[in-house]
């Protein structure tokens, strides 16, 4: 499972991408975030308030209840501020 991080989510976690082997009970983007939180302080800080975090799955806007599996590319980032 490939994971990307952007903006302050990236800064808090300290990396812009990683490939992880998530356990079988990680079925949604929200499960993935919860599993990542257990990995350390940076993750816990990045995902402390999920209302401030957005998810894209395979480069499409999605949400934390969307299903994910090992072939997906999941991105976590703050609300966008382009334009």
């Amino acid at each position: 499972m490939k994971i990307l991080y952007f903006a302050w989510v990236r800064q808090k976690i300290g990396r812009s991408e990683e490939v992880v082997d998530a356990p079988a009970n990680v079925r949604t983007a929200g499960d993935l975030a919860a599993w990542l939180v257990a990995r350390g302080d940076g993750y816990a800080e990045a995902f402390a308030d999920l209302k401030r975090v957005r998810v894209a799955i395979n480069q499409e806007h999605s949400n934390f209840s969307a299903p994910v599996d090992g072939r997906d590319e999941i991105a976590f980032f703050p609300p966008v501020t382009g334009g």
Binding site: F6, Q59, V80, T81
Partner: protein
């Protein structure tokens, strides 16, 4: 036409490209967004735009396609920069052409509103007082929401 690039663009050149040699265009509207030196009263030294390569182009193409369904457009140009920008630098250009002005105006306004809430860009401001990630504005969400009623 969608471009996501580090380098600057020339508004006049882009508008000319949409209209040159054509006699069917009646209206051309452009919007350019520019870095302001003042961020809530706190002088801005620079702004860095980060984006999600790949997804950005997909979202901009999607926004363009939706505008073309909603309005009668002849052409659309969207250019969005990333990287470090200084006060006075151009950030984004949206330009639309149509036979009639209402379509060109509304589509350009829609494109900007949708791009603000959907295109995966994030702005980090280097102000005199420190570094800040720009927070989304409620006014941008409500501006985008008016197109879904």
């Amino acid at each position: 036409m969608i471009r996501v690039q580090r380098q600057d663009f020339n508004i006049g050149v882009e508008i000319d490209a949409l209209t040159r040699g054509r006699t069917d265009v009646g209206a051309v509207v452009s919007f350019a967004g520019i870095v302001r030196a003042d961020a809530d009263g706190d002088p801005l030294k620079s702004m860095t735009l980060e984006h999600f390569p790949g997804m950005t182009e997909r979202e901009l193409n999607r926004v363009e396609a939706e505008a073309r369904v909603r309005w009668s457009l002849q052409d659309v140009a969207i250019i969005h920069r990333f990287g470090e920008l200084l006060p006075g630098d151009r950030i984004v250009l949206v330009a639309t052409t149509s036979q009639h002005r209402a379509d060109a105006f509304e589509a350009a306004s829609f494109l900007m509103d949708y791009l603000k809430t959907r295109a995966p860009f994030w702005k980090r401001e280097l102000r005199v007082s420190g570094e800040y990630w720009v927070e989304p504005r409620d006014s941008d969400d409500s501006a985008a929401a008016r197109w879904s009623s």
